[in-house]
């Protein structure tokens, strides 16, 4: 079955530290990849997406992610986090032209001022 794993349950960083959140998926076919963010008390918002082309994808708020097909990974990065980045981050995968998403379990990011 298709599954998505995220390496860290909770990450705590100080402001200006660099961030990398891991995401791996198990599906072997063509996939579309997404990172969503959920700020406390709010809905899921799309950070960035990968469909095809350049495997390094840039999203909103200074986030980027790199698709490494050979590693089945789509890690999220940000060079310098801010307190306002405190949120839950979800990696999601859906098959090419597939219907539903499979979400990872989420990683809680706490940024200390």
């Amino acid at each position: 079955a298709q599954s998505v794993s995220q390496h860290n349950h909770h990450v705590i960083l100080s402001e200006a530290a660099s961030l990398e959140l891991g995401c791996n998926y198990s599906y072997g076919g063509t996939v579309n990849l997404f990172w969503y963010v959920q700020y406390p008390g709010q809905h899921l918002q799309l950070l960035l997406k990968y469909f095809s082309g350049d495997p390094l994808v840039k999203g909103i708020k200074g986030f980027e992610a790199e698709f490494i097909k050979s590693k089945f990974s789509f890690n999220l990065r940000k060079p310098s986090v801010q307190w306002s980045d405190t949120a839950e981050y979800f990696c999601a995968v859906n098959r090419d032209y597939g219907q539903n998403f499979v979400f990872g379990p989420g990683t809680r990011l706490s940024v200390l001022p």
């Binding site: 579309n32 809905h43 998403f101």
Partner: protein, 113 residues
Amino acid sequence: EPEVTQTPSHQVTQMGQEVILRCVPISNHLYFYWYRQILGQKVEFLVSFYNNEISEKSEIFDDQFSVERPDGSNFTLKIRSTKLEDSAMYFCASKGDSNQPQHFGDGTRLSIL
């Protein structure tokens, strides 16, 4: 920017009662989804809907659940006889075509007493 809207934001219901969660997807979107997020857990797919019928559903979406698009604008999720374990945040999502990301609503928090 158009958005997906969900009502109510919080629904409290006695166990065994029927509940209907309402969603208004983005107006020109064709694909509709329901997800749920039990407190502290990951987002789980429930059902997808396209061309006036269910296109895919998870094992969670049993006979107690149903979806409907009654009037061309609303997309509802009905739980016929609620259980305590139905307490969760329910997210509606929609997308315009098969190769686009889903846009999520703010969610409805369902509390079963």
